[in-house]
């Protein structure tokens, strides 16, 4: 599990560099996000482009991170693969998170 962090305008972009967020990597994922958002701005964009598999533990970890960052910071998501997207819709978590098509979309919303 690896995570790249960068600042784009006022958005902190976290790109997951791992194909899976699952029960085996959920705790490491949470720790990495925590470490990389201590000085981030009010909007954190989690880029899932390289993730092709997420299970309920991975989903739970993303929900945990959202709760951890709130209320001062808001976690948004982008670039969901079809199966990842399906997990979010089946659990209705697509109603909870703001989900963007791409990093560019997520960042341009901030400018607008």
């Amino acid at each position: 599990m690896k995570l790249d962090a960068r600042q784009t305008g006022d958005v902190s972009v976290l790109s997951v560099r791992s194909p899976r967020i699952d029960a085996a990597s959920a705790i490491r994922f949470k720790d990495l996000v925590r470490e990389n958002t201590t000085r981030s701005g009010a909007r954190v964009l989690l880029d899932l482009q390289e993730v092709d598999f997420i299970d309920s533990s991975g989903l739970g970890a993303i929900v945990a991170v959202m709760k951890l960052l709130a209320p001062s910071k808001r976690l948004e998501l982008c670039s969901l693969a079809p199966m990842v997207s399906k997990v979010f819709s089946l659990t209705r978590m697509d109603q909870v998170f703001v989900i963007h098509e791409s990093v560019e979309d997520g960042c341009s919303v901030a400018k607008g």
């Binding site: 899976r20 079809p82 199966m83 659990t91 109603q95």
Partner: protein, 174 residues
């Protein structure tokens, strides 16, 4: 092979009377589960569509990780997985010697309420939503969970006729 597979007339000739079979036994650890998930995916790759492979992979991951996290298996105990593909469907049976489910019933999996954002409890929801049939038996040997997936057939050339979750019988427990 420990498993006596039910004889039926639905198995395509290519896979023989018993269909195509996968069997594995492994330690109740995350890393071992991940390895077996990849092995099953590789085994099933040329039989299932991408969509079916994806949902089967997710359901099996949920069910196996659930055993690792909640069955309370100790060192020297194993998870056993048998999978059988025959025309129209994939059946996967998992056995372990761990604790039974609460009330000896598979958890229902409830849709989380948006208001409280629980961090867990999505696993069984996904298992129920993405599998086509599920049976659970608690025996003197432990837990036996059987999952059935009606799978797409390339080109829709064959009717889906294997609608029943096959009965498994073992001549040896493990």
């Amino acid at each position: 092979m420990d498993v006596l597979w039910p004889k039926d007339k639905t198995a395509p000739a290519d896979y023989g009377q018993d269909g195509r079979i996968f069997a594995a036994r492994f330690s109740p650890e995350f890393i071992a589960v991940r390895h077996e998930l990849q092995s099953i995916r590789t085994w099933a790759e040329d039989m299932l569509s991408k969509d079916d492979l994806d949902r089967v992979s997710l359901v099996l991951a949920e069910a196996m990780y659930n055993i690792v996290e909640h069955a309370g298996l100790t060192q020297g105990q194993f998870i056993t997985v048998y999978a059988r593909y025959a025309l129209g469907g994939l059946t996967v049976m998992m056995r372990d010697q761990g604790k039974p489910f609460p009330d000896n019933q598979v958890p229902a999996g409830t849709k989380p309420e948006c208001a409280d954002f629980p961090e867990g409890g999505y696993g069984w929801l996904l298992i129920h939503e993405l599998s086509d049939r599920l049976t659970y038996h608690r025996t003197e040997f432990g837990n036996s969970l059987t999952l059935f997936f009606e799978t797409e057939v390339a080109g829709g050339a064959y009717p889906t006729i294997n609608k029943q979750c096959p009965n498994f019988s073992l001549n040896r427990p493990h």
